[in-house]
Structure formats: C-alpha cells, structure tokens
Symmetry: C4
C-alpha cells in the first residue's frame, strides 16, 4: 500500500474568520489540513502559504508518521510566521512520500456552524 497518494498537493484558497460563536476550541472558526500517510515510511512535509498581496511564506515543516493520519489547524502554523486571520490564502503541500490531503473549514461566525470538506488537488 505504499503508493496511495501524491507528493504535491494544492489548496487554492480560504480565509479564516476572526469571529466565532460557541465554546473553544471545538467551535473556534478554523481551517484544517488532514494528511493520511498510508506508507511504511515517515513523511517529511513542507507547507508553503500563498497570499493575495505578498510573497509566499514557508516552508512550515511537519512530520506525518508512517501509517498515521494527522490533522493540522492552519491557526497553529506559527514558525516561520504566524498565519494572519481574515486574510485570503492558499497552500501548497510537499511530502517526501505519497500522502492524501484533505482540507476542511469550520465557520462559526453565526450560531449555526458551517463545516465543509474537500479533497485537495493532487499533482
């Protein structure tokens, strides 16, 4: 099962709202990246963030262990630079072994949360 996925993925764009309703941290408005590594090797992952009006920032390095899934909130990407809220962004994800990438967004600005998921674009 070592060939499930791609080594490069893209998420065209999103924008993390500042406002929220409901208890933290579950109902904090947030965007998440889900990565599945079904191979037998740890995946070294590098995320680059693209913006509307300035140069890309990154890479943000991460590891997804062999045979594991990992969720990362974009809100938690701090180094090399904390991600700004209320800012349009996109992401490119590069991994050392094939992984599968999903993007999900939780919008809690109104009392009823809105959750949406999408498989990334695998190159």
């Amino acid at each position: 099962m070592s060939e499930i996925g791609k080594k490069i993925w893209a998420i065209p764009g999103s924008n993390i709202p500042l406002e929220q309703t409901g208890p933290e941290p579950d109902f904090t408005s947030h965007d998440s990246l889900w990565m599945l590594n079904a191979t037998d090797e740890d995946a070294q992952v590098e995320i680059t963030i693209y913006y509307a009006d300035r140069e890309p920032v990154g890479p943000y390095p991460l590891e997804v262990e062999a045979r594991r899934v990992r969720q990362v909130r974009f809100n938690d990407l701090i180094d090399p630079q904390a991600m700004p809220l209320e800012t349009d962004y996109g992401a490119v994800i590069k991994a050392s072994v094939p992984i599968v990438v999903q993007f999900s967004t939780m919008d809690t600005r109104q009392a009823a949360n809105s959750r949406s998921i999408v498989i990334g674009y695998g190159v």
Copy 2:
C-alpha cells in the same frame, strides 16, 4: 459499465463528534461511506482505519452487491474493533472490483446540522 471506478480509495481524515442535537438516528452526528458498485459482480470490500497515535485497525470486511449502492456509517464499524468517537481517523478502502466511494459527514452538535460530502481519493 464494468469499469466505473477504482479498486483503492482513501479518505484522509475526520472525527465523529460525541455531542448531538435533534432526534436519533437521523440527527446523530455521524460519518458515512457511500459505495456504488456499477459492475455485474459483487464487490468484496475491506476498510482499514488509520489513527493519529496508534497502528491502523482492520480490515473491516463488507460486501457491496453487483449493481447496488451501499451506505455504511463509520459509527457502525464494530468488528474487529468498535470505532472510537472524538478521535481523528482516516480510512483506506480496497475493493475486489471497481467501485466509486463518497464520504459524508453530519455534524449536529449545534441546533443547525451541517452536512458535507466529498468524493474520496481514487488511486
């Protein structure tokens, strides 16, 4: 029409909430797998569940009959091990004939349910 689909599919990740609002079972928070077998042969399906912090569990064996669609709630996967709620997971689905796989999530933690669907990643 025997070649509609793939034999391997991946769902990168989700997390089934424990809380819910509204009458059961329709408004129980749940994640579902939808499988369409448009071939003339029964599909033997094996689901493997990946976690964030321990080895994968499976296979969970299932059958999708020829020319049928089947919905399976992850909450109902019991053997070899009941799936824990409130836990990050991903899934790999392998079938003996080509099928098409969709993932849907129903989040009813707040009074307004949020439903989201996505076609799986076909390898």
Copy 3:
C-alpha cells in the same frame, strides 16, 4: 473547447429527506445534478439510478443543449419511475459528448438549511 469533460460520471450516493423547513420550492429538501455542456453539440444524457436493495432503474433521458448548463432535481425524475424519497441511491450519468457533472444537496429538515456541493466522479 469541445473536450471539456467526460462522457461517463458517477455520484456514489445520497438520500433525499422527506421533511423540510422554509418556503417551497427553494427550501424543499432536494438533490440536484448540474451539467455543463461546453461543446458545440447537444448532449443526449441518460441517467441510471442505483439502489441499495433492488435493480437499477433507467435510463432517464435528458438533453443538455450545446453551450448550456442545466440543473435537474432528482425529485423531478419521473419517467420511467418516480424517485422515492428517504431511500439511499446512487447515479451513473452517460452523455453523448463530454460534459462536466456536479452534485448538490440541500437539506432543510432543520431551520438552518445545509447545502453541500461536489464534483462528480468522471470516468
């Protein structure tokens, strides 16, 4: 631009709720198929509906004119047989020229509607 799309598409599964909240017809719970025909030829389309526990029903014939988009509510598929509500189903769409197919679902069982869209699986 005559090659945008595929001639065969699959929607793995859904279930049209009977209940609804809000004014008809916009807030009737429904599932829709969106078809874009960017070619210069009319597309003859045939939809086959797959069920969980009986043989497929179809074809439901439709036309999508050249250079046009068309939305079809599954609730409106009547001939050869009206589609039952509250029943798991999947769909295979075959067209005479390449088209692009999207599926959307509107769930209005609770006061807050939940809308979800997904591009079909193009074979």
Copy 4:
C-alpha cells in the same frame, strides 16, 4: 513548482441567491472563485459564463500574479456584462499558465449561513 495545476477548469453550475441575512459584505450570499498561481509567471485568466437558456457570455479577463492567490466574487463580474442573480450558471476558466481553481458558495438566505467548497474540474 511551475507545473502545479491545469490551464482549463470548469465549474458545472450554481445560482447566486438574491436574499440574505446578516451584515454585508461578509454575509452577502455569494459565489467565489479561488485561483492559486504557484508559478513564477503572471497568469492571464479568461472566465466564460454559461447559462441555461442563452449563449455564453465572456470572456471576463483577470490577472492572477505569479506566486499569488486571488479570490473573485462572481457577483463582481461586471464587464462585458453584470452577472444576473437567481439564475443558473456554469463557468469555464482558461489561464495562460497552470493554476488551481476552487469554487465556494455562501448561502445566507436563512439565519444560519451555509458554506460549501469544491475543487473545480481540471481538464
């Protein structure tokens, strides 16, 4: 990283509601196109809008600069012709360099907004 994406994308269909609830402009019902240009060249983009009952309108010309993401609300497409609300439409996006395209819809007709995202269909 100059080959992330495709030069032609399709969005099969949507319909921008006229009604809305909540403060403008964030909670205006709207459909957005997100474009990620991860190449080192500016992308010249042309959007063509397809309708259910008349000839396509376009192209709407846009630029997505090198190494940038850009969100465009369909509501803001004015020239050669303002996009009508409450009208079924689809879109084809052509770019001079490979880009990745995502479509998102925000429906605020009821007090609880419903947000849905989908990666376009890359040709």
